[in-house]
Amino acid sequence: MTIIILSLNTQIKLSVSTLNVQECVDWVISPECGGIDVFIGTVRNATKGKAVVRLEFEAYEKMAVKELEKITQQAFDKWPVQKVLIHHRTGVLQIGEIPVVIAVAAAHRDAAFDACRYIIDTLKQTVPIWKKEIFEDGEVWVAAHP
């Protein structure tokens, strides 16, 4: 399933398909912007020294999109940014694949860096998306237990 929220300055997508970083950059680039900050999350091959085989992402899609919209709105309220894009994967991801891309374009770099950092940090705290780490000998929902 793919959900796309499109406005002139915001794009949010949840997708089971491979994310395309260049498409993300192309969407936020604009003549009035002097800088684009891009955060790309990638699937790491180990957690706390233990080999990870793959990750599985699940989203409460309707609510996740709503929460992502709130975060993008907050970014526009806090910093002079021109365009914000968030793409997030769901489903099964192999090592090295990309679960998340955040791209922010602004007239000047400080706003782009700060907003991009804020978006990924807040996404990890509030957006109802979950990842399960699959190991050779078991699986764990990340952050579920203290």
């Binding site: 309707k62 998340v100 399960k132 952050a143």
Partner: protein, 80 residues
């Protein structure tokens, strides 16, 4: 009233499926719901924390539940 509760992530494992139905008093709030669920599914209490969402928004313990609300259990999120 009878409500249907959606489960995601580890909550789905705890409930043994993507949703459960529960009988609640007509004026029940989130805290009543959590109490009943924790009686039936004690593993919920072992989670680092969990939230309840009503109609796609995080709810507070004192919020009242209505019959047709979309209720979901939100275990600790781990996107990104």
């Amino acid at each position: 009233m009878n409500v249907n509760i959606l489960a995601f992530g580890i909550a789905k494992d705890i409930f043994g499926g993507p949703s459960v139905s529960l009988d609640l008093a007509n004026d029940a709030n989130i805290s009543n719901l959590k109490y009943l669920l924790e009686q039936q599914y004690p593993r919920l209490k072992k989670l680092a924390t969990y939230m309840v969402a009503v109609n796609n928004e995080y709810a507070l313990d004192g919020d009242t539940i209505h019959e047709r609300d979309e209720i979901a259990i939100i275990p600790p999120v781990s996107g990104g």
